[in-house]
Symmetry: C2
Subunit: 228 residues, 2 copies
DNA sequence: GCGCTATCTTGACGCCGTCAAGTTCAATTT
DNA sequence: AAATTGAACTTGACGGCGTCAAGATAGCGC
């Protein structure tokens, strides 16, 4: 039935699932999302091309697993950023945006898998859970920034309802801004600017200092608009 | 050398380049960016798989041509939106953001080709020109919103220099927001919300009414911050 | 009306994802 | 401790992909 623990013996791998995921991450890091092949991953794991089928079903299944882990790491990074912001007195929402960006830049290939819609397993349960968790953090913090943490609980199910269009609007605002900048940086849309004096650092500095400041002030204004 | 006009005779196609581009658009619309193949496009154009090579070099060349046309359409849509805003007295920057979104939603497959970085021809001259034009519109309008249209001329060369970090910061802000929302909508990131009562229309309404309003007020604030 | 040369076809190559059938072997059962 | 079982993996093959080299075709300038 199930095999022992791990290690790489002879016929049976031991922990092929984990090995495939690691290989996938490596390939994504080296060759990006283009040039990513199932066979290459299998090769690196020292296994035949058909072996992964049993663990992931097919290529999409493997990518789905990678994306799920990516969401987890994103969630962890955001939570850590919030914790640090609390400790240092920084802005929580700004810290989240920075963490989001940092994760995207640290592993652009994986970021593309998560959000590029190469085609992930539509109904995958683990993926949905991981995505909801990450998104829930954003929702929670945005509401908190708007001054209505309410129960302040973590989302455990789907997007849940929003108390008002205003909440949803603000969330879209924050997320669009963060995601848009990350995406453009990862996809090289901003490379002309990175070629200018100051390079990428200048962009990141502008983003971190000015954009986020704008974001915060906009949310503040929004809050007063609403009259919370 | 060059053949006559067009039409589909026998051995020679007549205008294969155009036919391939149209076929590519059709495939992108039907099957999306996954499931897009050069052979399928050639099939639709009624031509052998190797025929397109002479016109586009390879698959990347075809996608590059498609992306170039996409940039042109984006530019035209944005300019038209600005013209209409001028006529109706609406906000020009908001009109641009709406046009950007509309183009993305009208042809999501092509939008993905343009911005998804399936790998376009790096140094392609026509592509670069088209991209610079589209981007130049955004820059021009942002500067104008900031109260410094200066020469007000269209960009003809690369991103040019920016008078200050403030300008660049604002442009990043506007573009990130617009691109982020468009991308998430196209890539289905917001589909959970679209499943909620109100559907996609609610999101678009929120975006158009509230986010853009926020954007404008933020830019206004930015302008006063700068002290223009 | 004759070549020139761009255009398109043919055929082949290697790589891809996936499937069906066979092989191995750890864990459980007897 | 030996047999069994069934998950894990291999082998071999299939069709489809992008691309290349070599040959066929035909519009255009001379």
């Amino acid at each position: 039935m199930a095999m022992g623990v791990a290690g790489r013996g002879g016929y049976h791998h031991g922990d092929l699932r984990q090995a495939m995921i690691e290989a996938a991450e490596a390939v994504l890091a080296e060759k990006g999302v283009d040039g990513f092949t199932l066979r290459e991953c299998a090769r690196r794991a020292g296994v035949s091309p058909a072996a992964p089928a049993h663990h992931f079903g097919n290529l999409v299944g493997l990518l789905t697993a990678v994306a799920t882990l990516g969401f987890d790491e994103l969630s962890n990074a955001m939570e850590a950023a919030v914790a640090e912001a609390v400790a240092t007195g920084g802005d929580r929402l700004a810290a989240i945006a920075d963490a989001y960006l940092a994760v995207a830049l640290a592993r652009p290939g994986r970021f593309r898998v998560i959000f590029g819609r190469l085609g992930l397993k539509h109904g995958d349960e683990a993926l949905a859970r991981a995505a909801v968790r990450a998104f829930g953090i954003l929702v929670r913090e945005t509401k908190l920034a708007l001054g209505r943490q309410e129960e302040g609980a973590l989302l455990t199910r789907l997007p849940s309802s929003f108390s008002a269009d205003a909440d949803l609007g603000t969330i879209l605002f924050v997320w669009s801004l963060t995601h848009g900048f990350s995406t453009m940086l990862v996809d090289g849309q901003l490379s002309p600017f990175e070629a200018q004096p100051g390079g990428r650092e200048r962009l990141l500095k502008l983003y971190s200092e000015q954009l986020v400041q704008l974001l915060v002030s906009a949310v503040r204004q929004r809050r007063s608009d609403i009259g919370a």
